[in-house]
């Protein structure tokens, strides 16, 4: 089976251009050239072998992270020799770095992990949330290129290096996070090639702002495809619900969708058709879905008003379920406003109160923007979920139409599985709508 690069590596070409003269970049270019020739079975392992010596050579070289406000952090370089710019954000999850690296929602972002030990368990083939890592760069306190885990098939270093992503280790991440927490997220430039701090600060200042930026269109699939994979079992001891026979057809709008969402939809009995973010309501309905799913994704929801107006047309025509960016876009479709949080919610420990059950769910979160609950039309919309840390809106549902959204990630990966019931609810909603 060949890989379709336009589908699997949509953000690939612009990314390669930012890699400065590294072996990695050349390798990737080589791969791209092969594309038209119908090359089959390109394996990451090939790249990793070729890249190994490159990775080792950089060990003692310096990594620099410069922020737009002039603050500079120095550490040790791992991963690709490269220079990247992006919005610098932090994630407080203790586990799940591979899922974070490969979550398309991190497009355009340099990710700081607060867990100080990263790389310990390597990477594997089951856990990625997208076809490749999407982060611009990784910043950690201590990185290890030597994994230890029975499922590991590739080191975390090679996993990132193969895609030209630099890693800065031995950074004082706690100070960095405190800085971002008090001042808000900042643009930054991360380099693992010799570079002056001043030049990097300039680059950080010239990096595109996340506000107003449409990244969902960049990472979205360009073609329609079917998704048939459920959640794979990784241990015989997992308490995993069985995959139901398909009874619904769900059209999933891909704004940068995580694989685990598609897998969970499938597990709960859906046949899934993934469509590009720019798909019109007519085209979506033409697929005769039992329900439409609006996915997570990167960037500012304000830049997606064209899509929002298409979604507006779906409301009432078919059950709708939105996650994360999906909630924001649906919210905008309902006429509300969205705003940018100071430093976002990124982690696996956020308490969310479900007003309907009066129970607290510990949730996985990854968002920088948020729906303003006051701007939602109260007559149409019921607010259902709130974040107990800062009282921001985490979920709502339509009072009259089959529609609900959450801001957090019930599919977890990484994070707790407390909110999987939402997939059941969506299935139930589709059952009821059908009747």
């Amino acid at each position: 089976m060949g890989l379709d690069f336009d589908r699997e590596y949509p953000a690939f070409l612009p990314r390669v251009r930012t890699i400065i003269g590294s072996d990695v970049a050349r390798q990737w270019r080589g791969v791209v050239k092969l594309k038209g020739c119908g090359v089959t079975g390109f394996r990451l392992a090939d790249a990793s072998e070729a890249n190994l010596s490159n990775g080792r050579r950089q060990r003692l070289s310096k990594a620099i992270l410069a922020l737009e406000d002039g603050r500079v952090f120095e550490g040790r370089a791992f991963g690709a020799q490269a220079e990247r710019v992006g919005e610098v954000v932090f994630n407080t999850s203790i586990t799940g770095y591979q899922e974070i690296f490969s979550d398309p929602s991190y497009t355009g972002q340099i990710v700081v992990l607060t867990n100080p030990q990263v790389g310990n368990y390597g990477t594997n083939d089951d856990d990625p949330q997208g076809a490749q890592p999407f982060i611009e760069g990784l910043v950690v306190r201590e990185f290890t290129p030597r994994p230890s885990n029975w499922r590991s098939s590739l080191s975390a270093e090679d996993y990132l290096a193969n895609c030209g992503i630099p890693i800065a280790s031995e950074i004082d991440t706690r100070t960095l996070v405190r800085h971002l927490r008090s001042g808000g997220v900042l643009r930054g430039a991360l380099s693992t090639v010799p570079q002056s701090a001043e030049a990097l600060i300039d680059k950080a200042r010239n990096a595109p702002s996340m506000t107003g930026r449409d990244l969902a269109s960049v990472v979205s699939t360009k073609t329609v495809y079917d998704w048939n994979e459920s959640v794979p079992r990784v241990s015989s001891s997992e308490l995993l619900e069985e995959t139901l026979e398909p009874r619904h057809h769900v059209v999933a709008y891909d704004f940068g969708v995580k694989r685990n969402i598609l897998r969970r939809l499938r597990q709960h009995g859906a046949r899934v058709t993934v469509v590009p973010s720019v798909t019109s309501a007519e085209d979506a309905l033409a697929l005769k879905p039992d329900g439409v799913f609006i996915s997570n994704g990167p960037g500012d929801p304000e830049a997606l008003d064209a899509q929002a107006s298409e979604l507006r047309k779906l409301i009432g025509k078919t059950p709708v379920f939105g996650i994360c960016l999906g909630q924001q876009v649906v919210g905008r479709a309902l006429g509300c406003t969205t705003f940018k949080l100071k430093f976002g919610h990124r982690g696996g420990n956020h308490p969310v109160l479900n007003k309907l059950t009066n129970k607290v769910e510990i949730t996985a979160q990854n968002h920088g923007f948020c729906v303003d609950p006051d701007s939602l039309p109260a007559s149409e919309v019921e607010l259902t979920h709130f974040n107990l840390n800062d009282q921001t809106l985490e979920g709502f549902r339509h009072r009259n139409e089959p529609l609900f959204c959450v801001q957090y990630h019930p599919e977890a990966a990484p994070g707790p599985n407390d909110s999987l019931y939402l997939f059941e609810e969506f299935a139930r909603m589709m059952d009821e709508y059908r009747r």
Partner: protein, 1072 residues
Amino acid sequence: MPRRNDLKRILIIGSGPIVIGQACEFDYSGTQACKALKSEGYEVVLVNSNPATIMTDPEIADRTYVEPLTVPFLEEIIRKERPDALLSTVGGQTGLNLSVELAEAGILDKYGVELIGAKIEAIKKAEDRLLFKDAMTKIGLESPRSRLITSVEEGLDFIGKIGYPAILRPSFTLGGTGGGIAYNREELIDILERGIALSPVHETLMEESVLGWKEYELEVMRDLADNCIIICSIENFDPMGVHTGDSITVAPAQTLTDREYQMMRDASLACLREIGVDTGGSNVQFAINPADGRMVVIEMNPRVSRSSALASKATGFPIAKIAAKLAVGFRLDEIANDITLKTPACFEPTLDYVVVKIPRWQFEKFPGSDPTLGTQMKSVGEVMSIGRTFKQSLSKAIRSLETGKNSKIEDTFDPSLIANKLITPTPDRLPYLRYALDQGYSVEEIHEMTKIDPWFLRQMEEVSLEFKRLANRGALDADEETMRSAKRMGFSDAQLARAWNTTELDVREHRKSMDVRAVFNRVDTCAAEFESFTPYLYSSYESECEAEPTGRKKIVILGSGPNRIGQGIEFDYCCCHASFALQDFGCESIMVNCNPETVSTDYDTSDRLYFEPLTLEEVLNICDTEKPDGLIVQFGGQTPLTLALPLKRLGIPIIGTDPESIDVAEDRKLFGKLLDDLKIPSPPNGSATSADGAVDIARNLGFPVLVRPSYVLGGRAMVIAYDEDTVRRYMREAVTFSQDRPVLIDRFLQDAIEIDVDALCDGEEVLIAGIMEHIEEAGVHSGDSSCVLPAYSISEETKNTIIDYTRKLAIALKVVGLMNIQYAIEDGKVYVLEVNPRASRTVPYVSKATGVPLAKIAVGLMLGKKLSEFAAITGAPASGVLPVPQYFVKSPVFPFNKFRGVDPALGPEMRSTGEVMGVGENFGEAFAKAQRSAGTPIPEKGTVFISVGDHDKPKAVEVARKLHDFGFELVATRGTANAIRNAGLPCKVIFKVNEGRPNAVDFIKAGQAQLVIYTTTGATTFSDEKEIRRTALMYRIPCITTISGAQAAAEAVASANRDPIRVWSLQEIHGH
């Protein structure tokens, strides 16, 4: 769901004395629970037999009972206090078991007491192996595969399913007798045959071995609304096969992907819900097969546990406190996170640092015991450290252990032992891991031998390689980058000094000159996502310091480090009190300690908490940052004292007694001169540095002699020598403990009464807090002797002499604060044995007996106040002796049942791990209660077996007479029996072990004796003596090994036949 208003008064049962496996972590959890319930407006009734705890302080609960933790006494307390509810989950296994017993005896129903926390059904489901396994199977979780086997054939069939090795446990045999691990067919048949034969029901449980699997624990909390959160994941460095309490553990888990972690999280929540723990904290243990990720549930504790204490300290999330609030109806989202203030407690803490716990063992205290670590816990304490990385944290944890071997580490290794030391887990495994790596062993080789996850081993390998690189570099020409990187990796100044062949302080100066300084980060539950308002700090070499010291007047208290025999919870009690007192006196209190089990390392106890090793380097770092007005060293036992002089010489202001005075008291020569000047007698003595010298001195003094090293803690390496051979052997074997200091030799005062005195001094006036009379004779370590307040057998004249000597010594040593003196009285003459110008382990006991907070007053004195200012508290003039309103007996508790083959006879080496207190209107009642609390209740009637040396016979006859009067049957060995019969009492004769059978041991094993009085004969310990004492221990028959102990036991029997079951709260006794 709000606070329950239908409850007013809540009973909490503590965990009793400190024993191996149940230590002061339950003082921490119980104290938190009491404080939490009180702050919510409930009345708290507390019962705990352990006087050394903070929780039994009269201020912590409304009603505090230091009474035996047995059903009859608890019923009496319930009858008297009529609580509405019993919180079962914060008093360890003891509290939980007693809750079940009270429920099953119908007492809770009878008095209308509701069990809160965990219901009886949930406790049973969690505690009963088979019920638990069924419950797990029901929810789809695996346990190790097992089957009850009744024939060898059945066993051979089952082994085909589980493979070797197999764990075998015969059903219903005493202490697991007949069980074992079968590694092959031959052993399997052998053990099965034996096991099936030994088992009264002819059954053996055969279980799949999970030895070598990865081991994890998750701390879980649940509220009444079924909100569940994970507080912390803990990964064991030592794989399955070593008890968690004996394992090095790491938080958070390091080698699991999110998928695998969530699998465990889901399983924990399912387990909690199935078992039905309503509210509070529980922990669930898992093993994971490193080859394929198969996971089995090992066990769950439906209560706050040792791991909960660790998890609380590791995350800043106070599990016991929250558990108490959940038990009275609060929801997790109704409780605020203390540290961030703005976010709720309903969340999962996230760590941006790594926590390492290392247990502390003391096999050297128990000659003949097997130091192999297995499924039974053997450590007596633990340390925890916090570092930004695993390397840093491990290194700090090792420093925190204070094993006292740092300087000579290379000499103690033997290359030929590497394989053995790595394969068989013992306390030596960790040092040998480092040694093997230094010797060039590969991570793969070591992993094969130890099954320790390669990730941990690689971290250690990186440290080993870096140390070599640093050592190869020139001495102090390290540049800033090298230095910073070395410190970030966790190397101590002392280690770097060793690499560079210089001194610790030189390294310190050098790095400070390059501005490589420790900074302090906060433990904030949220990885800096929110602001922290609680200064709970650990050091690192990062770029920003978050300590934010205040400009207030502030005092640093140095804690006592890991619990050890001889340095336990009593010192933590003192440190906590010092902290409370400082706050009362308007000073900021700053605590430094590294023991996760304690109240002192609760972020609530002091204004500021530094969770750090108690080393010169770390304490100096804190002083550099805080610039304290004073530093207190006299409450933490020996640990801070050894730092006192170096700190003083570096200009740190030490308040209270001058460290030079402490040195005088510990230096035999200086102290001898002081006693001469004051004309106070001490046993004739001398010191020696060679075997011949020691023998000469002993001959001159006359045998028996007491031989010991100059600096001692808990009587470590102290022996009574009755002959020259023993002295020579001691000089040969004890040198490693003497640290190049001479060995001290005293004439041993046989048959002397020993007295402990605690006193307060402001430099001018001396207030004697307690004159405690030991029940065992001199020669038994003071920590191992039962003692009583008030002293009951010494004359007024002797008492006055003691008061006089105490005053003279306190003034001469310029004591400011607390001091402790040990005296021996022989033939009416008072000798000074030892002076410690610091808080002693009896301070909490004396405080509870007198109702006067000694540590608090001591802090006042250190701050410059005078004793006369405390008259309102002491109820006494500035000098004199504090009155004691009743009889209070303190008794020790020993860990002998954990160490097979060890002789439980008492001697000068301290071996007790904990203590209990009994309160009575008379000595007999107090002693009876203390013995009951210590788990060795003196029987009211039955048969007593007596065997004593000639020297003790007259007193033994008197004891026999008393026991006979109360209906005891007398049985004795021939000589003792003759003496008893000559006094006109009936007595049966029984053979000694070496005389033939049936002998005394058979007699005890047959359950025919209810009490054993068996004193040592002095010169040598015969093997049958040891066998009798071991047998009594095994069969849980009280065995009294001193004649004065036997006299006390007779008093206890008299009380049991005379006094009803009655209880007093401390508040009643002291009129609060």
